[in-house]
Symmetry: C2
Subunit: 181 residues, 2 copies
DNA sequence: AGCGTCATGTAACCGGTTACATGATTTA
DNA sequence: TAAATCATGTAACCGGTTACATGACGCT
């Protein structure tokens, strides 16, 4: 079976929901997958083109009530097969993030104590904001009991847990630096 | 001040240590920064070329005892300034990892319960291996009391904490899935 | 003789972002 | 009437990996 990149599979997955157009896909990702998957129009539209060329989806153009023309992509049987097959494959890329904060801290000798503290405090702030947005999204999902929200909540939980661990690391590291000074 | 990419700054930082050649830089990164920074020769050598062209380092070629020729890059004053300036700048890219596991889980409806469990178990295994390597590296560093190992340990601690949180998420999620079935 | 390691480098490719172009409709 | 939103798309660019090419030395 032909191999595509993860972005293609992500879009195939989204096409199983009500989101069928490039614009709608972008919205869904920004709102629901944003904490572990991002994408730009510069990739969505070319990928949709590829998907239809490969016969994984067919386009139906809808231009209701004078609205701007919308291209809606409906998964074909082949498209669904490709998606399901990918889901069954073992994971290829285990996340291994680049972390600019750790990189700067690693060369901490060349910085003053104050600068190091500032770096960590800013990082902690950013992490706390992130954590709060997770909570907010979580609450919004929990109120909407209709849809099968479990998978949404599970991915959010991942974000919450790892972010919380990072925040604790900040506190702990600030303590260590203080002791050294 | 001219802006470079993070890879360039990472290399400038490493050039402050005993590692002065492309080969040595690669080794250091693979051994010490591997958990938050990776790099390939395809980037190291062109970047070193850039660094010397920009006057941030000067090359001294050493070919001792018949060994293959080695190009050693020594930071100039300008190079050190550029590095220090970057260290003082606020962080630009907060890590936002793409996570293939979460993506697959997000489309979990199209998979059997068994497949989902397998996915999580494999992920957990990989995380546990990672955690163990952190511990091993940590112990190796702690035995070598000579160098200023604190920053090494701090970055390792970050890896340990976030990995541990992810492992706990795996366990918890496996429980949730079981309850649903 | 063959493998591992030291050592440097490039070209092709890929995945992704940014900036730009276009234009209609809705809302304030 | 101005701004926001809906909607699609492309070209230039950037950061990075992979695969390849080359060659010397040291160990088994």
């Amino acid at each position: 079976m032909t191999k595509y990149n993860d972005t293609t599979y992500a879009i195939l997955g989204i096409l199983t929901t009500e989101c069928k157009s490039g614009y709608a896909i972008k919205q869904l990702i920004d709102r629901s997958l944003n904490h572990f998957w991002k994408i730009s129009y510069g990739q969505i539209y070319p990928t949709l083109k590829l998907i239809s060329q490969e016969g994984l989806a067919e386009i139906r153009t809808s231009s209701s009530n004078g609205r701007p023309e919308k291209n809606e992509y409906y998964l074909t049987e082949k498209g669904l097969d490709v998606l399901k097959n990918w889901l069954e494959q073992p994971i290829e890329h285990f996340p291994a993030e680049r972390n600019e904060v750790l990189l700067k801290l690693f060369f901490g000798h060349y910085q003053s104590y104050e600068r190091q503290v500032l770096l960590l405090q800013k990082y902690k702030e950013a992490l706390e904001i992130r954590y709060q947005t997770y909570i907010t999204i979580e609450q919004a999902i929990q109120q909407d009991t209709s849809k099968d929200s479990m998978y949404w909540l599970i991915t959010l939980d991942y974000g919450k847990r790892t972010t919380h661990a990072a925040i604790e690391w900040c506190d702990c590291t600030l303590g260590k630096l203080k002791k050294e000074e």
